[in-house]
């Protein structure tokens, strides 16, 4: 498991996504972003497991973990904004 496999997984990801997430009428982009996020996290976990068990390339592990970190940060930030907007709606006087 070296860096090239990480890169290959990334390069294949856009081609795999349309089958994984069929386009819906609304929320298609969001679904796709979520699928992308889940894939990134799963890949990070896979790399971590490979590094711990089979002694894979640590550079690939660091790359995968950094990308997972970025993805989680983005997801958490977006979630916070969505929840904030929802609460804003709840506070609206009717």
């Amino acid at each position: 498991m070296d860096i090239r496999s990480t890169l290959a997984a990334q390069a294949y990801q856009p081609q795999r996504l349309p089958q994984a997430a069929p386009a819906q009428e609304d929320g298609g982009a969001f679904t796709q972003a979520m699928t992308n996020f889940a894939e990134t996290v799963a890949q990070g976990e896979m790399q971590a497991r490979a590094a711990m068990t089979t002694g894979a390339d640590p550079h690939a592990l660091v790359t995968a973990l950094a990308q997972t970190e970025l993805a989680v940060q983005t997801a958490v930030t977006v979630r916070d904004r969505v929840v904030e907007a929802y609460q804003e709606l709840l506070r609206m006087p009717v």
Binding site: D2, A60, L70
Partner: protein
């Protein structure tokens, strides 16, 4: 995020290539006294495997230094010819030290870039959070 993750991959490929180079330097240093050993030279090439837009680097095929081997005078080993000389290695420890230092500096540069990319994406997220 793709720009950031591409940049992360490129920086990591640079670090990996420099680690490979350091492996060869270590091999050369370890084999300084091996008779007939030729020092290994690491080459670098652009990796355009599956995506031509990605400028990652990878270590190329290893070349062997073809300069003349040192002639060592010692009649005792069975390797020695009639004049009492045998072929040593063509490793120069000073050159290897310089190469190791260069690999270290290059690795550090890639590491800084890696860290900077992480900081940049974090500050982008920070902007979204406010």
């Amino acid at each position: 995020m793709t720009d950031f993750s591409n940049a992360l991959s490129v920086a990591a490929s640079g670090m990996s290539a420099q680690a490979q180079r350091l492996t060869h330097v270590a091999e050369n240093m370890a084999n300084t006294d091996t008779p007939g050993y030729r020092r290994k030279i690491t080459t670098f090439e652009l990796d355009r495997g599956f995506d031509a837009t990605q400028g990652t680097v990878r270590p190329g095929p290893v070349r062997l230094d073809q300069s003349v081997l040192a002639q060592i005078y010692d009649p005792r080993p069975p390797l020695a010819d009639d004049t009492g000389h045998f072929d040593g290695s063509n490793v120069d420890l000073v050159v290897e030290l310089a190469d190791a230092r260069e690999a270290q500096r290059s690795y550090e540069a890639n590491l800084r870039i890696f860290d900077q990319i992480r900081q940049m994406s974090s500050s982008l997220n920070e902007l979204l959070r406010r």
